[in-house]
């Protein structure tokens, strides 16, 4: 039994992934082609598993939901179902509608989060100063023994403010940029490789170096090559081997 952990940070769960797919496929959120979106979604999950990345259980639950909706839509309709359909009460549509409703609701807050990010950035452009040291004015004052009127959150808030407070930078430091493998370089390598052998190659064989930076860059290079129609992907069925081959007459890099 595998352990599924919540680890995916750049996609905020299955709803976010679905929204992303809907955007990319330029689908109307209120008119989602179930078969297509399910296929795309599963391809995604499958690719993650191929790359041996942890897939959080929520993603798998959503996959099951999508498959259920899809299969119900494909099933021959019984008479009762037909009746339901006439009344607009079909169960599968209900589930799809529920999903659309959730997507729309979630999207509102996802957009609000974009506003928040912007506000956070704007606020970060303003610098303040710590309170001046006024203790000289307070020498002869005794702290009064009144009741406290603060909460744990006031204390935490005060502490956060302290942590956020900037410190003078001495000396002025320099930053070192992280070295990354350019995706273009990897794209050229993959294409050269495929053209040289002139046969299709297993998707897995494109990942000879198994460090995560390399895996990611290679995968992105493959996606970019597909987008540019430089390579061609074949898969006989769900979860079977994926093959990659070069398209004829592609561009040089």
């Amino acid at each position: 039994m595998e352990h599924y952990n919540v680890k995916i940070d750049a996609f905020e769960g299955p709803l976010d992934l679905l929204l992303h797919l809907i955007n990319r496929l330029e689908i109307d959120i209120y008119d989602i082609p179930v078969a297509e979106i399910t296929e795309q979604y599963l391809l995604y999950i499958h690719t993650m598993q191929v790359l041996q990345l942890d897939v959080a259980s929520e993603y798998l639950v959503m996959a099951a939901t999508l498959l259920a909706i899809k299969s119900k839509m494909l099933l021959p309709k019984h008479e009762e179902d037909l009746l339901d359909d006439e009344l607009g009460l079909g169960h599968e549509e209900d589930t799809m509608e529920e999903l659309v409703e959730r997507l729309v609701e979630y999207r509102k807050y996802k957009e609000a989060a974009v506003d928040f990010k912007e506000m956070e950035k704007e606020r970060g452009l303003m610098f303040t100063k710590p309170p001046s040291d006024l203790s000289d004015y307070a020498k002869d004052i005794q702290p009064e023994k009144t009741e406290l009127n603060v909460s744990l959150y006031d204390m935490l808030g005060a502490f956060q403010k302290l942590l956020r407070r900037q410190k003078l930078q001495k000396p002025l430091s320099t930053k070192i940029a992280r070295q990354e493998i350019p995706i273009e370089t990897r794209m050229a390598e993959i294409l050269d490789d495929l053209r040289q052998f002139k046969v299709r190659k297993s998707f897995y064989d494109l990942f000879p170096v198994l460090d995560r930076e390399n895996i990611v860059v290679t995968f992105l290079a493959v996606l970019e090559l597909i987008k540019r129609h430089d390579i061609f992907i074949e898969q006989e069925g769900n979860f079977s081997e994926i093959y990659v081959s070069a398209m004829e007459g592609g561009e040089e890099y």
């Binding site: 919540v6 940070d9 905020e12 769960g13 299955p14 709803l15 976010d16 109307d28 209120y30 008119d31 929520e58 959503m62 037909l82 359909d85 006439e86 607009g88 509608e97 659309v100 409703e101 959730r102 729309v104 609701e105 979630y106 509102k108 807050y109 996802k110 609000a112 989060a113 506003d115 928040f116 506000m119 956070e120 950035k121 704007e122 606020r123 970060g124 452009l125 303003m126 610098f127 303040t128 100063k129 710590p130 309170p131 001046s132 006024l134 959150y153 935490l156 808030g157 502490f159 956060q160 403010k161 942590l163 956020r164 407070r165 900037q166 410190k167 003078l168 930078q169 002025l172 430091s173």
Partner: protein
């Protein structure tokens, strides 16, 4: 500025005094109430003084600092346009910004407070324990009570620190949620129904 009944000699430089107070208070800021107490004037008068001071600052484009209102307090801060120079001078130890998960969670809490974790998770479709911990530790949210029902789950709401962090005067200043989507939805819902109805009729 001068209040009724005060002698015309020895005019008190209220704006200058408030500027001193704001400077000394730093990022702690001052509320109108505190200013009124220290100046021994009414809050309305304190408000008038601070607004005059803010006006002066606004009218002088050469100033490098300005008066801002954050979470119900007034404080002095550097102008945004000088941030490039300030970044060369200072390091902010906790410059790390909030993660996407934390921002989404915070947005839901900000607009729907008070709200339980289960309700947040229902909207996001994923577990939200960790973003909530982060937001609590950063004092951006707090427990504001308990929900009714068997679980008696904690209800979360935003804090004063939240307003400060995002540069807001008060919670009402939040940009409105994009409700337009909702309207589209209503309409499309009807379209969808009629579309399907038609299909069924035609088949």
């Amino acid at each position: 500025m001068q209040w009724k009944g005060e002698k015309s000699i020895n005019i008190i430089n209220w704006k200058g005094i408030v500027e001193s107070l704001l400077f000394a208070a730093g990022d702690e800021g001052l509320t109108l109430k505190q200013m009124a107490l220290v100046l021994e004037v009414e809050e309305l008068q304190a408000e008038e003084i601070i607004h005059e001071l803010m006006e002066d600052y606004r009218n002088d484009a050469m100033r490098g600092i300005t008066v801002i209102e954050l979470a119900g307090t007034f404080q002095l801060a550097t102008k945004k346009e000088n941030s490039a120079y300030l970044k060369r001078l200072v390091v902010t130890p906790q410059a790390s910004t909030l993660s996407q998960a934390a921002l989404e969670t915070l947005a839901i809490i900000a607009y729907k407070q008070p709200i339980t974790r289960a309700e947040i998770e229902e909207i996001r479709g994923v577990k939200t324990e960790r973003p909530i911990h982060t937001l609590m530790a950063k004092a951006l949210i707090k427990e504001v009570g308990r929900a009714d029902g068997s679980g008696r789950a904690y209800l979360y709401g935003t804090t004063k620190e939240f307003l400060d962090y995002f540069g807001l005067k008060k919670i009402e200043e939040l940009p409105p949620l994009p409700e337009k989507i909702e309207d589209d939805y209503q309409q499309d819902d009807a379209d969808l129904f009629f579309g399907r109805f038609q299909e069924t009729m035609d088949s």
